[in-house]
């Protein structure tokens, strides 16, 4: 028996097979310190594994699995809509701009179809009036306006069911080819993976200040607190 045979037996044994005829193997192990060491280590591993208590699933295991599956499905659905949201964002912003521009009435002439609601003519900006301190605070409304602008694209995407991003994925067949491994390429990509830490440090240097700047500018928007 060769070292290769002995190690093959060992691999198969670790996968659950019997070690088979022992005399040949034992003879080889008696002569070969390397293989003897490997087999001894495997025996220790097996012994250690036997001492482990059988793992029992946590109490909420089933709920978590179901939750994660649902979350994964949601995420897949969202990623399909990502492109659509981008397209819808442009359309919604445009609609927002048109609303804010007070040109809604002019657009109304193009509107067709029975489901369309008439566009309200925005009022002309009036002259300055005296402060109405007791009036309801605009705080909530301003906050809601922000979330409204943010959620409009999603609404448009949801209602139009755009799923262009998913189309190429759906159309292209699964051509995954599992061929023999090329160890050299693994090594090359492993070397490249080492640059990730540096990239992230460099990105932080630029992204951090940009994020802080954005945060400050957003804070600068005059806020009218709840009265």
């Amino acid at each position: 028996m060769t070292c290769g045979d002995a190690q093959q037996r060992l691999n198969e044994h670790l996968d659950g097979a019997s070690l088979g005829e022992r005399p040949l193997l034992d003879r080889h192990l008696a002569d070969c310190p390397d293989c003897r060491g490997l087999h001894a280590a495997a025996a220790r591993l097996e012994e250690g594994l036997r001492l482990f208590a059988a793992p029992s699933p946590p109490l909420d295991f089933a709920a978590r699995v179901v939750g994660e599956v649902l979350a994964d499905r949601r995420q897949r659905r969202q990623s399909r809509r990502r492109w659509a949201v981008g397209a819808a964002l442009a359309a919604s912003l445009l609609a927002g701009v048109i609303f804010a521009s007070g040109r809604g009435a002019r657009i109304q002439q193009y509107v067709v179809g029975p489901r369309l609601a008439p566009v309200v003519q925005p009022e002309e900006p009036g002259p300055m009036v005296e402060p109405i301190v007791a009036a309801p605070s605009p705080y909530d409304l301003v906050a809601q306006s922000g979330s409204a602008v943010a959620s409009l694209p999603r609404r448009v995407a949801d209602e139009t069911k755009l799923s262009a991003w998913s189309l190429p994925n759906d159309v292209l067949p699964d051509l995954t080819f599992v061929g023999p491994e090329a160890p050299g390429l693994d090594q090359a990509t492993a070397s490249l993976a080492e640059t990730r830490g540096g990239m992230s440090l460099a990105w932080e240097s630029v992204e951090g200040p940009m994020r802080r700047a954005t945060s400050w500018w957003v804070q600068m928007t005059p806020s009218i607190q709840k009265q």
């Binding site: 397209a87 359309a91 445009l94 701009v97 048109i98 609303f99 804010a100 521009s101 007070g102 040109r103 657009i107 509107v111 067709v112 369309l116 609601a117 925005p122 009022e123 900006p125 009036g126 109405i132 301190v133 605070s137 605009p138 409304l141 809601q144 409204a148 959620s151 409009l152 609404r155 448009v156 069911k161 755009l162 799923s163 262009a164 189309l167 759906d170 159309v171 067949p173 080819f177 061929g179 023999p180 090329a182 050299g184 693994d186 090594q187 090359a188 070397s191 640059t195 830490g197 540096g198 440090l201 460099a202 932080e204 200040p209 700047a213 400050w216 500018w217 600068m220 806020s223 607190q225």
Partner: protein
Amino acid sequence: MKLMPPFRVCLAACLVLALPPVALHGASPRDELLRLVPDDVGVCVVLQNLRGHTAALADSPFAAQVMTSFVGDIVRNSPELKKLKEADKVLKEQLGTDWAQLRDDILGDAVVMAFQPSPGKPGEEPALFLIRARDAAFLQKLVDRLNEVQKKAGDLKELEARDHAGIKFFRRVEGTKPAYFYLIRDNVLAVANQETMLRQVIDLEKKAPAAHSATPALARQLNELATETPLFSLWIRPRAFDADLEKKAAEAKGADAAFLKNFLVYWKAVDGLALFASPQQQFEVRLAVKARTNALPASARKFFAGLGQPSDLWGAIPNDALFGVAARLDFAALPEMIGEFLPDDARKAMRDALNHSPWPPLDKIAREVLPRLGPDLGFCIIAPPAGDKDWFPQAFAALRIQPGSDDEPVEQTLMDGLNFLARVAESDYNRKNADRVTLKTVVQDRVGVRYFVNDKRFPPGLQPAYALKAGYLLFATSPDVVKRFAPSAVKPEGEVPILRVSLVAWQGFIKERREELVGVLADKDQMTKAEAGRRLDGVLAGLQFFHGVEITQRPGDGHAVVTARIRTAQPLRK
């Protein structure tokens, strides 16, 4: 703060009238603000001519198309739009204005935001917000009104007048927020988070009053990179980030240190980065990089040298391609360029891995062919001809191979290696699957084309093929695509194309192949054909607003501008 007394209005009017005409027309609103921005800021955002852009967009054929479509219907009936209208009403009640007036009279000319990064002091970085209003009196009145409302509501805790160089400014404390400082000079409002920053603004204003001064340095740099007046500009001054990057590079170890050290070489070669967004006839986003190319490493100069020329592959990519991308990059320089970002041992490991494959045919390819790859590289997807029995989109990927000599027949080496890999793939697939794939050969005009056939597994029209044709290594969805492949030199005309997506072609493809696509969608996503049909119709409904997307590159003297252009079905301008 009180309303501007009449005598101050008169004084302001007299001052304005006393200025020579050039002062009234000499500088754009944007430049009026940029001259108040200190030179050492790291980030600067400019919003200009919001009023004009909004008006043009609202009156555009594109807006009309969107608003008369189902999207307009959805938006008009959305609860979000109702909320916006309510907010507008309250704004009018509280501040005596509305969004439209705010946008046109306050934000409509120019808005500038500037920020100065300070490594190690993330909470204390100076920031500045500048507004150039169209109506100075309205600006003053609005600020007074806001102060009044907030004071009465108890939100404005402190409002303290201060003075610098004879100019009054205010310290403002709102609720539990940190104090900030503001100043109104004619129709300019300046707000800063630090008193020193606002004092700097006052000093700059006194140093170069009105529009007499030359174009500010920042404005000159933006003008250099932007061809027109963009609605949105973001300017990044790389030097403001140097200290932090250098500190990180000094503290880092191993692979991180090697990466950061080399990254700094690239970073220091860049003098400015800018991003512009603007609705013109179509929507454009531009990324501009101003760099000293002679400061870049030799490998990077070599790798990017061809980018200024359009790839010949554009001659093989039709205008109505569903997707096309092609560029000229010197791949022979790529391993060296990437290797410079790695520590010595990792660089050696990568070089060894590339130069010594465990399979002899590939080992030869690595040694002989890798240095001859490029510079043209491209990929293209085309819709099958209308009426064709095969519905699967046609595609090819092509990479130019520099010819070898008689002594070094590179093409033969490459084909030997590919044939070896193809045989391995064929036998591996057939060993693992019940169905069989077969590798066949066809000769087209003295070009040998190898292709795989598997009618059970591949959809109609798909027969993955490869060949060496016209100096290109070509992978295609069928031998027919290889046959039609004919690259030709493209005459450079200003912008160099990099990527193009024809959304009109996508619409045509989906309409033409609806039945087959519905079947594939239903099968893949486990849904009914009716549902799959609805999804496809949704795609078509969204695509109707767009004509296509393209990315181009415009090389210039010491700078490069990459433009992403979204072509809408209807123009964004009348």
